[in-house]
């Protein structure tokens, strides 16, 4: 499904997310769905929860592990916060399995569209902005190499 590495595929993933969240009436449903998405992420190995994998600038703990090459980058991530883990699940749907070029060309417009924009504000320090920066930095570093 997410074999497609292009920016167009990332854009399509964002559209799908926006459609999914359009169904929800109140905040409890939106967060319930977000938390459930986090629970469905593949298990994140305990031994990956190292200082080197830690994303700084988050109030909760977030670990992010990149792999692959500029043609196709994969990310695994986890957090001790259920809400942040849900946000991670969304970010990975958009950014993981894309090319470095597609990652750098993709703005996370879905965050605004699904009413979670406050999570992107740098003052929230809950990790979404920091994670995104880490993902983009990694994409930039493999492109340069």
């Amino acid at each position: 499904m997410s074999q497609e590495t292009t920016a167009a595929a990332a854009a399509a993933a964002q559209d799908t997310i926006v459609d999914e969240f359009a169904f929800f009436g109140d905040w409890t449903e939106r967060y319930q769905y977000l938390i459930d998405l986090g629970r469905k992420l593949p298990p994140f190995p305990e031994e990956w929860k190292t200082e080197a994998h830690k994303v700084h600038g988050c109030q909760s703990q977030v670990w992010l592990v990149p792999s692959g090459s500029a043609e196709r980058l994969e990310f695994a991530a986890s957090s001790d916060s259920s809400i942040v883990t849900g946000l991670i699940a969304l970010l990975l749907r958009v950014y993981s399995g894309r090319s470095a070029a597609a990652i750098l060309a993709t703005e996370p417009r879905f965050v605004d569209a699904i009413g979670l924009a406050k999570h992107l504000s740098p003052t929230r320090s809950n990790g979404l902005a920091a994670m995104l920066k880490t993902i983009q930095q990694y994409a930039r570093s493999v492109s340069a190499g």
């Binding site: 938390i35 916060s81 942040v84």
Partner: protein, 408 residues
């Protein structure tokens, strides 16, 4: 038995308490972070800017005199509020942090020798740890922390045992910002005095909740903040014994803190002005003066009694939430409750409570060593004020139960 104290009577004075958040009535339980301001404080700040904006102590014109009278009047009010023996022993600062840093750099640093110690407790706010670490690093001294019990009470015998001749200063919180423990400061001061060790008390969390009498406490330094006392941010004070203030060199240099300046040598003003370089937060302190008038009108004894009742009610109500762990069960406690719900991150609790209109803080509360003691990275914290009600506690507990079901 319920007291005659009626929080509804006072709530009406706080404009922010009328607003809603996410369509729900605001339940403001983050008072230990900063307190809301009554209309009288807003009016006092507004009045200064509208009617008599001028600098203090350097103008003979009418506006300058009016501003100076209001600003110095706030010093008088605060001195009376804390039962400071003399107004010139009260240094106005930007808050507790600046007050503690002033003592660290002007009092402690010149006296510290390699091997000396500064004794604090495990429950301190970073503002009462880091300044000491900074001056310790410069002088070769070290900072030691006295342990606390599982209930969050200072182990007084251990504290006493740590008061060795190496200790050049002790610094303790009057009230813990995380778990509300009220430390037996008068007893601590007695132990310190018997050994000739000066004691600083961080009163940031005490002043809004109980009568503070610095002379009765018997400490050497008392640091406090105005914004938790329903005053503007950027206001606070340091009380110090006169002998200490006289011996301390100025921390900041500049205008307003001198008697004469020449390139052959400058003569400093007397305390407190030698510690108050530059134009102060005039509007802020005028607001703080109004806040003290307001609190004294409500009555600090009545506030203390009502908050004790509300805390007992809230503590019991919280027990009804399944999987909830309350941190700190000191016998003497201010209206601060730190908690976690099993398997749920504190930030998630605070994020979702916000959607129900409930404002609590989540995180480490600037007290990493205390978090390490409890073995958790963060807690959620509900902190109450006299304008909070039982109905708000009920709404909070209902919201918490909803959040728990969503997250657990």
């Amino acid at each position: 038995m319920s007291s005659a104290f009626d929080p509804q009577r006072w709530r009406a004075d706080f404009p922010v308490l009328r607003r809603s958040v996410h369509g729900k009535p605001l339940v403001y339980f983050d008072n230990a972070n900063t307190a809301q301001k009554p209309q009288a404080v807003v009016d006092a700040v507004d009045g200064y800017y509208r009617e008599y904006t001028a600098n203090v102590a350097r103008a003979v014109h009418s506006l300058g005199e009016q501003a100076t009278a209001a600003y110095e009047g706030a010093r008088d009010k605060l001195a009376r509020f804390l039962n400071v023996p003399s107004r010139d022993q009260l240094v106005l600062t930007s808050g507790t942090t600046q007050a503690i840093n002033l003592v660290a750099y002007s009092y402690a640093l010149p006296r510290l020798q390699p091997g000396d110690e500064i004794l604090v407790t495990q429950m301190e706010h970073h503002a009462n740890i880091v300044p000491w670490q900074l001056v310790a690093a410069r002088s070769g001294a070290s900072v030691k922390a006295a342990p606390i019990s599982a209930d969050g009470e200072l182990l007084l015998d251990r504290f006493e045992a740590m008061l060795t001749p190496k200790v050049k200063l002790a610094a303790v919180a009057h009230v813990s910002n995380v778990i509300g423990t009220v430390n037996p400061v008068a007893e601590i001061a007695r132990l310190c005095r018997a050994r000739g060790i000066p004691l600083l008390v961080d009163g940031s969390q005490a002043c809004p909740h109980q009568r503070v009498d610095v002379q009765a406490l018997g400490c050497d330094f008392y640091a406090m903040t105005g914004h938790k006392l329903f005053g503007p941010t950027g206001t606070g004070a340091l009380w110090a014994k006169r002998e200490h203030l006289d011996a301390m060199p100025p921390f900041f240099g500049g205008g307003e803190m001198i008697r004469t300046v020449s390139f052959d040598g400058t003569v400093f003003a007397d305390p407190p002005h030698k510690f108050e370089a530059g134009t102060p937060n005039i509007a802020g302190f005028i607001g703080l003066g109004a806040a003290i008038d307001y609190v004294e009108n409500v009555g600090i004894a009545a506030i203390q009694a009502y908050e004790a009742e509300l805390l007992a009610y809230a503590t019991e109500a919280l027990q009804s939430v399944p999987g909830l762990r309350l941190f700190g069960r000191a016998r003497q406690r201010a209206a601060v409750m730190s908690f976690l719900i099993e398997g749920v991150h504190a930030h998630d609790v605070a994020t979702l409570l916000d959607h129900e209109g409930v404002a609590v803080r989540s995180g480490h509360h600037c007290a990493h060593p205390l978090m390490q003691f409890f073995g958790v990275p963060a807690t959620a914290r509900a902190s109450l004020a006299f304008y909070n009600t039982r109905e708000e506690v009920d709404a909070f507990v209902r919201a918490l139960d909803k959040v728990r079901r969503l997250l657990a």
